[in-house]
Symmetry: C2
Subunit: 434 residues, 2 copies
């Protein structure tokens, strides 16, 4: 089969990525294209104009777009991602998954192939939580997973999500009803940039995702006493910032130990010195804590260890503290069958690949959770950069991703929904053990 | 003399403090009365109305106010402080120094005393740097110490200081010329709340200040790499916030060691995680560093030790860093003669007192630096609270401060400008060794 494998048009991919980049482009060459803003609407219009006229195209009640040249097929493999971005994000996050999916489907269509798994392009609204604090709004609505509460979430101008949808021209009615006919969907595939450094450091073109790490998140507040920096001897201080610093170091230490024992990352990525000033001893500091693993039981165990470290460190520094849980999600194990087939397709296109977990959530995880076998294929993030104007990947990796999608749809497989074990995954392209 | 010592009217002091509290009072019962705002103007008007009509009153070219019932005296002891505040500050900072000075002078006048050192009330504009980033604007102008550069400093709405002065009705011309006749001024006294915990912990009513600690200040920037918190293994991170935490702890450790060896405080009172977020490894953190001592050579030595710790800690964490010096002031040694006499006056009024350094700068230090023997008398800050609506002191301490001023002006002394040694001061009311 490989001698007459349809060949993607990488120039067309690059042209589309560059044209979409212009929609919401920022001064620093990043992109701001928030959910249900005019920028998101315009890029959906652009995409619709790019679709070959032979494609059947439809939009659901919240503005997700679907398109396929095989509308009459009994079953379909859905492939896609999202078009919104974070504030001043990169040009590839989401968009690359949509454009590679379109390229694979269009290439198959142009070469008059009849794939055993006829694909449908799926393009979702509002994957990023940047505007409403709600992730994967479009794909969750498509799957009937959005709650009335989520639907009422507001942006920073107090505009509710439902109102923003209406302003964009959409009027969903029954949120618990999927907008797509799940009985027809054999599986879901998504291409995405990794958002981490693993592939760039290992020099692999592709990453086949086995699990999605899920976070437990806290807001930690450390309280001491405000004092004049010049007038308060060191031994009379209750310095909340010094105490918070000791806690942050303890979290990093436990996180490093745990990352050696199993799959775990623990992060303090922000900090606020409440009413901080150069001439004060700081009396209150707060910071978020994010702990993720593919293994929920292991994550729970490390979470307890970290909370105990926080208690002990605050005690040592004679400080009060509060911990407030703000999020607790469960890891998702992707379809083993799909991952195995993605690996096979990558292998047959002679692309270097490895198995790895995903650090963040993506639209595809909702399909897996809804019972649709789902896969996620990563291309490298150069230097691990993500959610930044400097986000970049490699042309060869983009071509490899499109080829892998093409080969996947042409393969004769029956997809069953098998689970991965949730152990630490150290597999690579050389063997398929994961 | 003590059997017929004039007695202050504490009810009058409290009434004036409470009436001034209403001018610029905030929702949280603090005070916002920034330099050269209408609030500062109104409180100067209030004070002028409170002055006995027999007093000679004059205002200089920047709005500082002076008043005395002995305008014909050949020499005068100036006593006073300021009426402006920080944003949502306390009701006593500055105001207490003005009202206790007025009370002492008015009490002497009412009792028909002819003090050997006839006092003049001195009330300065803009002591706090809250509006223009410039401290002691009024007293520095009175002494011819304000520079043209200082004069052009702007507030957060880009209003220059000189423009704010004009709007308040003042038109200074020659900044290098003192607005007061220094040849007539025998000395300067200021009462102020301590702004620290030392007196409250030692249960003394009064503190006689021997030296003013001066800061060297830096902005420290720590740079690592931004990464996705979920996608980046612990060993691939360059976490600027964890590195900054280690540096802050090292600064605290060196500061504690140094405070045991000599007079030193080292503080990180604020922190900024640049573009920080719960789902990122933070790539850049900045924070201010404030190091103070009464002993400049010792401070320089500890400063070097701290900068070396910063370098080593950043290296250990594989991070880049920058240190930017933003302020370097010299400690001031107050007049030994004045301090000694203040201690004697406190002692004769049977007030408990101790010698101590001041952590912050005050108007009085400018007089000392201009060659006028100057003193500073502290009352306790309850729980060390300062620059806060919760700022408070004790009624007994206020009465003791007024009595000490009265007794000082009635004593027969010739003030010479002697210096303190700059060693660590551990004296107390029991002996005069400092």
């Amino acid at each position: 089969m490989s001698d007459r494998m349809p060949k993607e048009d990488i120039d067309r991919v690059q042209r589309r990525l560059n044209q979409i980049w212009e929609i919401g482009k920022t001064d620093s060459s990043g992109v701001t294209r928030l959910a249900y803003t005019s920028e998101e609407n315009v890029v959906f219009d652009y995409l619709r104009d790019e679709l070959p006229r032979e494609f059947d195209v439809w939009t659901d009640s919240v503005g997700n777009l679907f398109a396929t040249p095989w509308p009459e097929a009994e079953n379909s493999l859905y492939i896609g991602s999202h078009l919104d971005s974070v504030i001043n994000g990169g040009r590839l996050d989401g968009v690359l998954g949509v454009i590679t999916a379109l390229e694979a489907i269009q290439t198959l269509h142009e070469s008059s192939c009849q794939p055993p798994n006829p694909p449908t392009l799926a393009v979702f609204r509002g994957e990023e939580s940047a505007r409403f604090g709600q992730h994967t709004i479009g794909s969750r609505t498509a799957l009937g997973m959005l709650t009335v509460e989520d639907f009422s979430a507001t942006d920073q101008n107090d505009v509710p999500l439902w109102h923003a949808m209406q302003q964009a021209g959409f009027h969903p009615e029954n949120l618990s009803e999927p907008t797509i006919d799940l009985d027809r969907v054999t599986g879901f595939l998504e291409v995405h940039i990794e958002q981490g450094r693993v592939l760039d450091e290992s020099d692999d073109d592709l990453g086949v995702v086995t699990n999605i790490r899920a976070p437990v998140r806290y807001k930690i507040t450390v309280e001491g006493a405000y004092d004049h920096s010049g007038a308060t001897p060191m031994n009379l201080r209750h310095d909340a910032l010094a105490g918070a610093s000791a806690i942050i170091l303890a979290i990093q230490r436990v996180g490093k130990e745990a990352d050696n024992e199993g799959d775990l990352v623990a992060t303090v990525g922000d900090i606020t010195a409440v009413d901080g000033a150069i001439n004060k001893v700081c009396g209150e500091v707060s910071f978020p804590l994010d702990i993720r693993s593919v293994n929920e039981a292991f994550r729970d165990q490390i979470e307890s260890r970290i909370l105990e470290e926080i208690r002990m460190t605050a005690d040592q520094h004679n400080l009060q503290f509060e911990v407030q849980e703000i999020d607790r999600s469960s890891p998702v194990t992707m379809s083993e069958e799909i991952a195995s087939q993605l690996a096979h397709a990558a292998d047959s296109s002679e692309s270097g690949y490895r198995f790895l977990p995903s650090g963040g959530g993506h639209d595809t995880m909702n399909f897996q959770q809804a019972g649709v076998p789902a896969g996620l294929l990563f291309v490298p993030s150069v230097d691990g950069v993500s959610h930044s104007p400097d986000e970049e990947t490699y042309d060869d990796a983009v071509a490899a991703a499109v080829q892998t999608l093409i080969r996947f749809t042409l393969s004769e497989i029956e997809i069953a929904n098998k689970k991965f074990t949730e152990n630490k995954i150290e597999g690579n392209g050389g063997d398929h053990a994961f």
